[in-house]
């Protein structure tokens, strides 16, 4: 699993660059690099369905983020840094990592999962559903309620975007609306 460590180091480096760089377009491109690294990590961890999905989703996400940032002449924020706030946040993150380290000792070690539920799925998936891709048999047959909820969330998000970005029934630029009308 040596290549996985290198890939994670690359992702952490990309994330730090994306957080700390001043230019917004470079930041968006750096987060795209992190997402593509995640796609390769899924491939190494033997999850090809997720690798395909992550690759396609990352490209679409990158297009939308670039659409949001391009042609906005954003003044670079050259305010003085709030030192106290940053130190408090860093202390909080240090505590979080310490307790995470304590909690991770109780997990089963890497590469040896428990798989109490999945034994059943692996043994009887083909006989009960007839699908040879076991991930598809889990998401669409054994746990189809998850997919139904996902469809609901997606529908709500699409309706939310269309409502936020609508063009009908909005105030015009010069129009003055009284208080009681609003």
């Amino acid at each position: 699993m040596f290549e996985l460590y290198i890939l994670l180091l690359f992702m952490i480096l990309g994330a730090i660059i994306a957080v700390e760089i001043k230019d917004l377009l470079s930041s968006v491109i750096a987060v795209g690099a992190v997402g593509l690294g995640l796609s390769v990590a899924f491939l190494i961890l033997k999850a090809p369905d997720l690798a395909i999905t992550q690759l396609a989703v990352e490209i679409l996400c990158l297009i939308i983020l670039i659409r949001a940032t391009i042609r906005r002449d954003i003044p670079t924020l050259n305010r003085r840094k709030e030192v106290v706030g940053s130190i408090i946040v860093l202390l909080f993150i240090g505590g979080f990592l310490f307790f995470a380290y304590l909690a991770l000792k109780d997990l089963p070690s890497f590469g040896h999962p428990i798989m109490r539920v999945s034994q059943n799925y692996l043994a009887e998936g083909l006989r009960k559903t007839g699908a040879t891709n076991l991930v598809a048999s889990v998401i669409l047959d054994f746990r189809a309620y998850d997919t139904l909820g996902e469809a609901t969330v997606l529908f709500t998000a699409v309706i939310g975007v269309l409502a936020v970005l609508r063009r009908i029934g909005r105030k015009k630029v010069d129009e003055v609306v009284k208080e009681e009308d609003e």
């Binding site: 395909i52 891709n133 269309l162």
Partner: protein, 150 residues
């Protein structure tokens, strides 16, 4: 020179390459969806890839041509159709006893027509995800933001 500026979309090189590749991308998405129960892939990945093919067309040729191929109304119709198809498949399971019951004959494994309702569910999810993401992207493109001076 003036005529080139008035034309929507990108340059000639991008348009030629797009004309060659966009059909292949659409075909790849359909392949991913229909073989989702045998090989890696499925409704989510295929739907996003199909949406990306239309977005590719829109980025290269401008918004008019892409909207002529798949208009906003049609995208909204397809999204609702996907949702209703998925729910109908779930409700038809009451024939056999419970919600999302796999009521179709399962067929032989490793064939294209096997696994009962799973390919139909994949197609429904593909309609829903692809049309929904395309509608969102159209809404983001059509919005003209007036630059406000402080």
């Amino acid at each position: 020179m003036n005529k080139k500026i008035k034309q929507p979309g990108m340059t000639l090189i991008v348009k030629t390459i797009t004309r060659l590749t966009v059909g292949l991308i659409l075909l790849y998405g359909i392949y991913i969806v229909t073989h989702g129960h045998i090989s890696p892939g499925g409704g989510f990945a295929g739907g996003v890839i199909i949406a990306l093919s239309f977005i590719h067309l829109m980025l290269a040729f401008g918004k008019d041509l892409a909207l002529r191929k798949l208009s906003e109304k049609l995208a909204a119709f397809f999204e609702s159709f996907g949702a209703i198809m998925f729910l109908t498949i779930g409700l038809l399971g009451f024939i056999g006893g419970y919600f999302f019951f796999n009521f179709i004959f399962k067929g032989k494994p490793f064939n294209l027509f096997s696994a009962g309702i799973i390919p139909l569910c994949n197609i429904a999810i593909c309609f829903k995800v692809g049309a929904g993401l395309f509608a969102v992207f159209v809404a983001l493109i059509l919005l003209k933001v007036p630059i406000k001076k402080e």
